[in-house]
């Protein structure tokens, strides 16, 4: 049995471009609106996932697997980034007793 890909059966690539752009913009609005540093890290993860979704869509669209390998590497970097970011956050909470990013302004001139 030969399964057709989703793009051979009527769904256009523009649908996934719009969907992942909306997800990316939601993540960006979250970074600007929320002030809890943990939510900020989560919104960054959401933006990375939007990019992943577009990469997989184009990989399926063009029939080449390289895009999915790059999604794999993005996941590797995201995991490393989340661990280091969270440990920095735990250390900052230990010193300042808050996760509000507007308190973290010691580098401001």
């Amino acid at each position: 049995m030969v399964l057709a890909t989703i793009f051979q059966s009527g769904v256009s690539i523009e649908f996934y471009i719009v969907l992942s752009t909306i997800l990316f913009v939601i993540g960006m609005i979250g970074v600007m609106v929320r002030r809890n540093a943990i939510i900020l890290l989560m919104c960054i993860e959401l933006m990375l996932n939007a990019v992943n979704l577009l990469m997989v869509a184009f990989s399926t669209y063009f029939g080449q697997a390289d895009g999915q390998i790059f999604v794999f590497f993005i996941m590797v970097v995201a995991a490393a980034e989340a661990t280091v970011g969270l440990s920095i956050l735990v250390m900052a909470y230990r010193n300042l007793r808050t996760t509000d990013v507007s308190i973290f302004n010691k580098l401001k001139g």
Binding site: V11, I38, A57
Partner: protein
Amino acid sequence: MNLETIAIILGGLTIGSALMVIISKHPVRSVLYLVLTFFMISANYILMNAQFIAIVNIIVYAGAIMVLFLFVLMLLNLSRENEPKSSIMVKLGAVIAGGTLFTVFIAALKDGVAVAATTATDADSIGLVENLGHLLFTKYVLPFEVSSVLFIAAMVGAVLLAKREKQIIE
């Protein structure tokens, strides 16, 4: 029910749960909605015949990273009461900036794809473990090995940062 309807419903659910991540006030609820978003994105991957990426997405993101976030949230003991709030002007500015970025992205990308979709009959098998594993260990073997160095660095850095410093008693 054809594939197009399923794709549109799934896209709407993905956007809805992603919106709930930034709307909900309680941090734990945000984490749970983000897990739901990752499951929805995995469903999108399965719809695009990318089975390996779908499973890895669930295991790595929903299974490992979000549990880490949840542990840190429990450790820090945050609640709705001490959740910092931003002013209405900041919210308005953020939504306007995000809407502008969305418009620019769509305007730039709407005519961007000039190549038609692939018509190869084996196009549905590129997302399987066999194919991706072969590619990962031949063409991309060097980045794969280098990523282990990145993980070692991240692990050492995380342990070093989170370690409680020794109290100096005079």
